[in-house]
């Protein structure tokens, strides 16, 4: 299993809900966001702004982990690139190595901090906070089975960057149904 994000630019409308959901769920400090939304205003003659919501892409080759001299960035078996602040020495090598500006500098604590794909939520069977709150279904959890068809780095829609192997799929998927409300937490008489 390799996990990452799938992003559909035809559905994103730049609401920043994912950015705030991440901050709310992970308690990141003010002015420090693990996820950001980039905006490409319309070309002349076009009527469409394109938005791109990005956080850590949990790369296969994880240049950040390769660059870290302290072993503070590790790759979980499910592909999540996890940061261990207690081991971080604050050298910021990972920031220089990451092609996506994913690792963020927490000046108050003198360490790096970054998206961990809400691995504690994943372990409880929940989706990452940013995915869960997306009104458009533009942001989804990407799960590629090892060895399964389409599971290689050349899988459709995956960003091709051989030296990093980002697990970010940019694709307009089939229309996602708006998930129904969860059943009630207790039985009504």
């Amino acid at each position: 299993m390799r996990l990452g994000f799938s992003f559909d630019p035809d559905r994103c409308f730049g609401c920043l809900g994912c950015v705030a959901a991440c901050a709310n769920a992970n308690g990141t400090p003010e002015d420090l966001f693990w996820r950001r939304v980039h905006k490409l205003p319309p070309e002349p003659g076009s009527s469409r702004t394109v938005y791109l919501s990005m956080a850590c892409n949990h790369c296969d080759a994880a240049p950040c982990a390769q660059a870290c001299p302290a072993g503070a960035l590790t790759k979980r078996p499910d592909g999540v690139v996890q940061h261990h602040p207690e081991a971080c020495i604050g050298c910021r090598c990972c920031q220089m190595a990451c092609p996506y500006e994913a690792p963020q500098w927490d000046a108050a604590r003198g360490v790096i901090s970054k998206c961990g794909l809400c691995h504690d939520r994943l372990d409880q069977g929940r989706e990452p906070a940013c995915v869960e709150t997306c009104f458009a279904g533009a942001l989804r959890l990407l799960r590629l089975e090892d060895g399964a068809a389409g599971g290689g780095t050349e899988a459709a829609g995956l960003i091709h960057l051989p030296e990093a192997g980002p697990m970010l799929r940019i694709a307009s998927g089939p229309p996602g149904a708006f998930p129904p409300a969860l059943p009630l937490p207790w039985e009504r008489p």
């Binding site: 809900g17 950015v19 003010e30 279904g137 969860l182 009630l184």
Partner: protein, 685 residues
């Protein structure tokens, strides 16, 4: 079983028509987690950027926790704590003197979104207070949609369709001057359902909006040309035989007059007035006339912020009727709430005979200007950010002898007040919320912070000081809410029942509004021609009129101020809540200062680059803004978020609807926020 520390409420931002559900966890009297309520039947666990950040409101160290009076000159920033008794005695003394002196209307209450997000405060408890003590009541909705409401009242058609029904059944959706993606992100799933089924999703807006990014077709007419557009499309439909004219004549009053009025308009001329191609009007006519359900989204009051807004909305409503979309599942107009609370509790019958100043900006401006207001209670509102022409308003408020602000935070208006009263947060009150078809409980999850108290608590104590003993005759808030729920729409609902239903309860409202073609006009018919409008001195048929301050009617002003200022909405703001959200760290980080959208050509022509600090100015004021170059704006227009007071340093006090109209209809009186001319210049950093 529900865990004792889990509570369900709704988001504190007053979105329209539905608020997202919240699930909060509390431990030892403190908020430990806030997230979307996954059981909520509309939002289904999702929250937008403001909702996700709303826990920061509750946890803010900047909350007001005790009543205070100013300790120096107004606006000097020095405050001293006082008791509730001292604050209420001070207010009561002036209110009593005004009443006993024969001018009770000099006591005014202005309540806005911070108060009316609690629906019973809006519809019952605050009007009840004003009626029982005989004060003037200014409703915070007048800047938002009162001219839209007037147009709907004159036409007799309020829409009232549920977005859920639109998502499930509409073949097409037209966002007419609406940007729900920026203002009510929770409507996006329903908009996308229409698109995913292959339906056309249209956005009509001069700007490239966030909703345009999700639309299949974006139409960019000239700013303010909406009557030309709607009437031009209607003309095409009538010429091409796309209208069931016999059905229109059966349903409405004055269809023949409307038909002749519209057919007198040459569609090619209408297209030219809108700066569109004739084929755009023909395509829109084909869409409205195709016979399958088309929903028009008029959720926000954007059109009402134009000088000609009443006519714009009238024109669109007539077009909706013409396409046969009224009373059709998945058709109609998405708008507002259809759920009524117990109307008898407003105590309308006990309001004094003295006429109060109507809830119309012309009347408000005149009352403040003439010194007719002595004591102003501002409840959950922020006029010194949200009302137009702030330099004028600031001078007017400075002459009001007693200004009291009841809020969570020291906002722009509170800083210029004499007294501030600390408000409880939405998690510290038991409350109710409704959508167009459902009722939700806002459960109390936390005790009031410090000495903060909810509005009905201090209104009761103030009313008693004025000799009114029965403002709050209930033993507690739950009994009060149960009394409010005693209405036809809320039959079967009670606080206890709602508490067991975090998904919300259906209200008893029509599944398909207006299926019986009964309309709220004196004749019960749809008013193509409004005799009522004619009596009130308004055009009886939707008629275009250029704004007094605009590109066409004021060439002299345009030479000095060649840019049209557009009041925008972005996800990071709900008006100027929480001191323009500067007290909510996540929102402050995402939009730390007023950001002006400028077309690159307009920026370059003035030497103002992307990211520069600049001044936006006209004869009314000067605002300091950060510039963002973007091709989302049309050249000649600049856009500023309505959550910043900087916008309203520049907007004008012009308000097209006369107080006499509002006095009769109870609606109308929105300022023409969208009609302001400005110029931009670079400033040194």
């Amino acid at each position: 079983m529900r865990l004792p520390n889990v509570h369900y409420s709704v988001c504190p931002h007053n979105c329209w028509p539905v608020n997202c559900g919240l699930r909060v966890e509390v431990e030892d009297g403190r908020l430990c987690a806030l997230a979307g309520n996954p059981h909520h039947d509309f939002s289904r666990g999702r929250l937008c950027v403001k909702g996700q950040a709303s826990g920061e409101i509750q946890r803010s160290p900047h909350r007001l926790t005790r009543p205070m009076k100013r300790a120096g000159a107004r606006g000097a920033g020095a405050w001293e704590p006082i008791t509730w008794d001292e604050a209420l005695d001070t207010i009561a003394a002036r209110m009593r003197a005004n009443r006993d002196g024969g001018r009770p209307q000099a006591n005014a209450v202005y309540h806005s979104h911070g108060n009316i997000v609690q629906r019973v405060n809006w519809k019952v408890l605050t009007p009840r207070f004003a009626n029982l003590v005989g004060a003037t009541l200014w409703d915070g909705n007048f800047p938002c949609w009162y001219d839209v409401g007037l147009a709907q009242a004159l036409t007799g058609y309020w829409g009232l369709h549920d977005p859920v029904e639109t998502g499930a059944h509409a073949a097409a959706l037209v966002n007419w001057a609406q940007d729900p993606a920026a203002s009510q992100a929770n409507m996006v799933p329903y908009l996308l359902q229409v698109r995913d089924r292959g339906g056309e999703v249209v956005t009509i807006d001069p700007r490239v909006t966030q909703t345009a990014a999700l639309s299949t077709w974006h139409l960019r007419p000239r700013l303010g040309s909406d009557v030309w557009l709607a009437n031009g499309v209607a003309a095409v439909m009538l010429r091409e035989g796309l209208v069931d004219e016999a059905a229109m004549a059966r349903m409405g009053d004055g269809f023949e007059a409307y038909r002749a009025h519209v057919l007198a308009l040459e569609p090619r001329l209408a297209a030219r007035e809108c700066e569109l191609d004739l084929k755009d009007l023909e395509r829109l006519a084909a869409l409205y006339g195709q016979g399958s359900p088309l929903c028009t989204n008029l959720t926000r009051g954007a059109l009402g912020k134009h000088w000609n807004g009443v006519q714009m909305v009238r024109a669109v409503l007539c077009l909706v009727a013409l396409g046969g979309h009224i009373g059709v599942r998945g058709g109609g107009v998405v708008w507002g709430e259809a759920v009524d609370w117990n109307p008898s509790l407003q105590a309308q019958d006990r309001a004094p005979a003295t006429p109060a100043h109507p809830n119309n900006f012309n009347a408000i401006d005149a009352a403040l200007d003439s010194g007719a207001i002595d004591t102003l209670l501002v409840v959950g509102g922020n006029p010194l950010s949200q009302w137009p022409n702030l330099n004028r308003l600031r001078a007017q408020l400075a002459r009001v002898p007693l200004v009291v602000v009841n809020d969570l935070f020291l906002n722009h208006t509170a800083r210029q007040a004499d007294l501030v009263l600390p408000a409880t947060s939405w998690l510290e009150e038991l409350g109710l919320r409704a959508s167009n078809s459902r009722i939700y409980l806002m459960d109390q999850a936390l005790p009031p912070l410090g000495e903060s108290r909810e509005a009905s608590w201090w209104m009761d104590r103030l009313a008693r000081r004025l000799g009114v003993e029965d403002y709050f005759p209930w033993p507690d808030k739950e009994a009060c809410l149960d009394a409010c729920l005693a209405s036809a729409a809320c039959a079967g609902a009670s606080v206890a029942e709602l508490r067991r239903r975090p998904e919300g309860m259906p209200a008893h409202v029509a599944g398909v509004p207006y299926a019986d073609h009964r309309f709220q006009t004196p004749t019960g018919r749809f008013a193509f021609f409004s005799a009522q409008a004619e009596t009130l001195g308004l055009p009886p048929l939707p008629t275009p009129e250029e704004a007094p301050e605009g590109a066409r009617r004021s060439p002299g002003l345009l030479a000095r101020f060649p840019l049209q200022l557009v009041s925008e909405r972005r996800n990071t703001h709900f008006h100027s809540f929480h001191d323009s959200h500067r007290l909510v760290p996540t929102l402050r980080s995402l939009e730390p200062e007023p950001l002006l959208h400028v077309h690159p050509r307009d920026g370059a022509a003035r030497g103002v680059a992307d990211g520069d600090l600049a001044e936006l100015f006209n004869d009314r004021g000067t605002a300091r803004v950060r510039v963002e170059w973007t091709t989302e704006m049309a050249a000649g227009q600049v856009g500023l978020n309505d959550g910043w007071p900087e916008l309203n340093l520049l907007t004008s006090s012009l308000c097209p609807v006369a107080p006499a109209v509002t006095a009769v209809m109870g609606l109308g009186g929105q300022p023409a926020y969208q009609n302001a001319l400005v110029q931009l210049r670079k400033v040194a950093p």
